[in-house]
């Protein structure tokens, strides 16, 4: 399905000349608009269209050009190829941070950015507008007669006790392909050794590797998968067929990703880009939940009430796992754990 989407995008996208892979593309607003905000995002179009519609309502003479790409491709587009986008939205915090650290972004300050807490922005270059936990999605049918595991340790124990029930029915990110998967994995590894034990257990049960959360959720919903590990919880909870599976936020620790927006330095209309980001932030940080905001209200976790929630911190620490040495050795280790002969 991913490849289908890609092919579709290639067919209809005028940007196909660019050397990076475009997954999807859409244009919102009047065709004769005076200004066009070009957005590159890792987020699916349906997820963002309400927010964009609201933005266009407020700015009738503006159009939004929305390109979907994977976080790696997004990085490639902005870092190496210098493609002109006005706003980049990504769930890969590490890559976004690297873009900001390497001077590929513009500074932006406004009334909206002033209201953000310190953890939700970095250097006034990077702005968080979601808090999305990495969840474990469990198929209710697959766990029939078993307790739903609430921690990684529970999951490891159950997988070990019932290897035959779960063999080939465990899904997780392919770290080599998914920037978000890599981010989740490295953060997990940093937090606890449990990650490596779980990976080995999953590897032993012929885990299937995915590029995207949505596909994993699809497969859990269809019953192909019994367990999907490190799935974006928000995606899972947004599903209509929620009764078929359970979304578990691991009680030992739940890694929380912040989806961030930035203005690439190549943007030729930074003010417009700033307006778009401000709009996104206003929607996100609104005190009352808005329909145009598809995510779990960001303010709910503002009080840090749940000690198990571990928000990924923006900052230079995220650069570490992007180091090629580090990445290579991490992936080597991961591969040897997950790809067991």
């Amino acid at each position: 399905m991913r490849y289908l989407g890609l092919a579709l995008a290639l067919l209809i996208t005028p940007l196909s000349a660019a050397g990076f892979e475009v997954e999807d593309h859409a244009r919102f607003g009047p065709s004769d608009a005076a200004q066009v905000v070009r957005v590159i995002s890792t987020g699916d179009i349906p997820v963002f269209s309400p927010a964009i519609a609201k933005f266009l309502e407020l700015n009738p003479d503006v159009a939004v050009d929305y390109t979907v790409a994977s976080s790696t491709q997004l990085m490639l587009a902005l870092n190496k190829e210098g493609a002109e986008f006005d706003v980049a939205i990504s769930s890969a915090m590490d890559l976004q941070t690297k873009l900001a650290n390497d001077g590929r972004t513009r500074r932006h300050q406004s009334a909206a950015t002033e209201t953000l807490p310190a953890w939700a922005k970095w250097r006034d270059n990077l702005f968080a507008f979601t808090q999305e936990p990495a969840a474990i999605v469990l198929s209710r049918s697959a766990f029939d007669g078993l307790d739903m595991p609430q921690t990684r340790q529970d999951l490891i124990a159950i997988l070990r006790q019932h290897p035959e029930r779960f063999r080939g029915r465990i899904g997780t990110y392919d770290l080599r392909a998914s920037g978000l998967g890599y981010l989740f994995a490295t953060q997990d590894a940093r937090t606890s050794e449990t990650f490596w034990r779980l990976t080995e257990v999953m590897g032993g049960l012929d885990a299937r590797l995915y590029c995207c959360s949505s596909q994993m959720i699809d497969d859990v919903a269809s019953g192909d998968l019994a367990v999907a590990y490190n799935v974006l919880g928000s995606y899972a909870k947004a599903r209509e067929d929620l009764t078929r599976f359970e979304v578990v936020l691991p009680a030992d620790f739940t890694t929380v990703m912040l989806r961030t927006a930035l203005i690439p330095s190549a943007s030729e209309q930074p003010e417009l880009a700033g307006q778009f980001i401000d709009h996104l932030l206003e929607v996100a940080w609104s005190e009352t939940p808005l329909e145009s905001y598809p995510f779990t209200p960001i303010n709910q976790n503002r009080g840090e009430a749940d000690a198990s929630l571990r928000r990924i911190r923006m900052g230079p620490g995220l650069l570490v796992y992007l180091d090629q040495f580090k990445k290579r050795s991490f992936l080597n280790e991961w591969e040897s754990a997950i790809l067991q002969p």
Binding site: R190, D323, F325
Partner: protein, 461 residues
């Protein structure tokens, strides 16, 4: 009388200016010291973290199966993020071969494993603080030098410095203001005794020449000493002047009195007209010279007193009555009647002794120049601004034409031959009048005979 004081500068202002200048210099020094100290502290803390970071990176280097591995610890960079939201760059080289990080990050010098190098350079258009450290490893029997650089932009440091600078500036300003206030108070209190001394000296009456007895600060002892000394000398000198005048009068007048009395006695005894005539001449000459001496001495005293006028409230009417009464016997000898026309008290500010003397001279003249059985009228009236004393006689009047000349010393009317007088009388009156800011006018009675002298003195407002 008081000469204009040659004023230059003000001790108070100089003192305040000096103290303020000192305070300003101290405040500026304080600002720079605090700022410099803060900068050093900030640089040191950044350097320390960079050092910890680079050390952590190098510590993870290892040779495994002949291959160099490097496992960047998460903390190596996150610790840099703890300090500020600054951008972080790094680069790792193995014997000048680029391994990982930012390949365009400038390499500074060649560090030894013992001593890392620090430098502030420009990278990507921003100032960065960079550390370059080295570590030696043995790989397949070969010595490999691993160098690692970690760099961080200095925005956070600069922001901190700016904040500290602002605080330091506020501190400096506060210090300055406080010191300024204290300087002002200190200068005021330093100058206080001087002002109190000046006030106490200027409060004194003109005759009060006692030494300053109130306690004064040590610094003012020479000044007060000099002042006391000066006043001592002045007192002595004044006393000498007064004594001299008194002594001179005594020395001159006593023998004159002896001679005159003898001459008069002799006149009673001799019968021959020639002898009597010459004795009369002698007495006249004695009177002439004694009167001249008296007026000279009076004039000296008047001059002396007008230099330091001792003013008090006096009733000019009472003074005139007193003087008329006092000179009554003298007028009576010539059957001259003196009328004192003073309907109401007229108060002025003046030196009573000088005014008595002036009036005495006027009445003396009037008695002298009036014919026997003539009339003299003394009147004192007051207008809103002036007190007016008039002396009218029924004598020959003043000679027309030389009225203004009359007040000059030793001038005498041209029509007074045969009457003893030194001519100083009106001069004294004139000087006394001037000393009291008054006006003297001399006229002749336009209707009948006789002169009229008017003293117009300012009334106290």
């Amino acid at each position: 009388m008081t000469a204009a004081i040659n004023k230059r500068g003000s001790i108070l202002r100089q003192l305040i200016a000096l103290l303020l200048a000192g305070a300003a210099v101290l405040a500026v020094i304080l600002f720079f010291v605090v700022q410099g100290f803060a900068r050093q502290l900030a640089e040191e803390s950044q350097d320390n973290i960079l050092n910890a970071s680079v050390t952590a990176i190098l510590d993870t280097a290892a040779v495994q199966q002949g291959e160099l591995t490097l496992d960047l610890p998460y903390s190596a960079f996150s610790m840099l993020g703890n300090l500020s939201d600054d951008r972080v760059f790094y680069a790792v080289y193995s014997d000048r071969t680029f391994l990982t990080g930012y390949s365009d990050l400038p390499q500074i010098g060649t560090p030894s494993p013992e001593r890392p190098l620090f430098e502030t350079v420009t990278y990507q258009g921003e100032d960065i603080r960079i550390i370059n450290a080295a570590r030696r490893l043995v790989s397949e029997g070969r010595l490999v030098t691993l160098t690692a650089s970690v760099a961080q932009t200095r925005n956070g440091q600069i922001a901190t410095l700016n904040r500290i600078s602002q605080n330091a500036a506020a501190l400096g300003l506060g210090f300055f203001l406080l010191t300024a206030l204290m300087a002002y108070l200190a200068a005021r209190s330093a100058i206080g005794p001087l002002q109190r001394l000046a006030a106490s000296v200027s409060r004194r009456g003109p005759q009060d020449l006692r030494p300053v007895a109130a306690p004064v600060p040590a610094e003012m002892v020479p000044l007060v000493g000099a002042l006391n000394n000066f006043m001592d000398r002045l007192t002595i000198s004044l006393a000498r002047s007064e004594d001299f005048i008194a002594e001179a009068a005594h020395r001159i007048r006593t023998p004159l009195a002896t001679v005159r009395t003898h001459a008069e006695n002799t006149l009673h005894r001799v019968e021959r007209d020639e002898n009597r005539a010459s004795l009369r001449e002698m007495i006249r000459a004695i009177d002439d010279s004694s009167r001249a001496a008296g007026q000279l001495l009076d004039h000296a005293m008047v001059t002396f007193r007008t230099d330091h006028l001792e003013e008090e409230e006096i009733d000019l009417s009472a003074l005139a009555q007193d003087m008329v009464h006092r000179l009554g016997p003298l007028a009576e000898l010539r059957d001259i009647s003196m009328i004192c026309n003073t309907p109401a008290p007229v108060v002025i500010h003046g030196d009573p002794i000088l005014l008595q003397n002036a009036l005495r001279n006027l009445l003396d003249n009037a008695i002298k120049y009036s014919p026997a059985e003539g009339d003299i009228e003394v009147s004192v009236t007051a207008s809103e601004t002036q007190a007016i004393l008039t002396v009218r006689d029924s004598g020959a009047g003043f000679p027309v034409g030389d009225i203004t000349e009359l007040t000059k010393r030793f001038a005498r009317g041209s029509n007074v031959d045969g009457i003893v007088g030194s001519g100083l009388g009106l001069t004294i009156v004139d000087e006394v009048t001037r000393a009291h800011n008054g006006a003297l006018s001399i006229t002749n009675n336009p209707k009948g005979t006789g002169g009229c002298v008017t003293l117009a003195l300012p009334s106290p407002s």
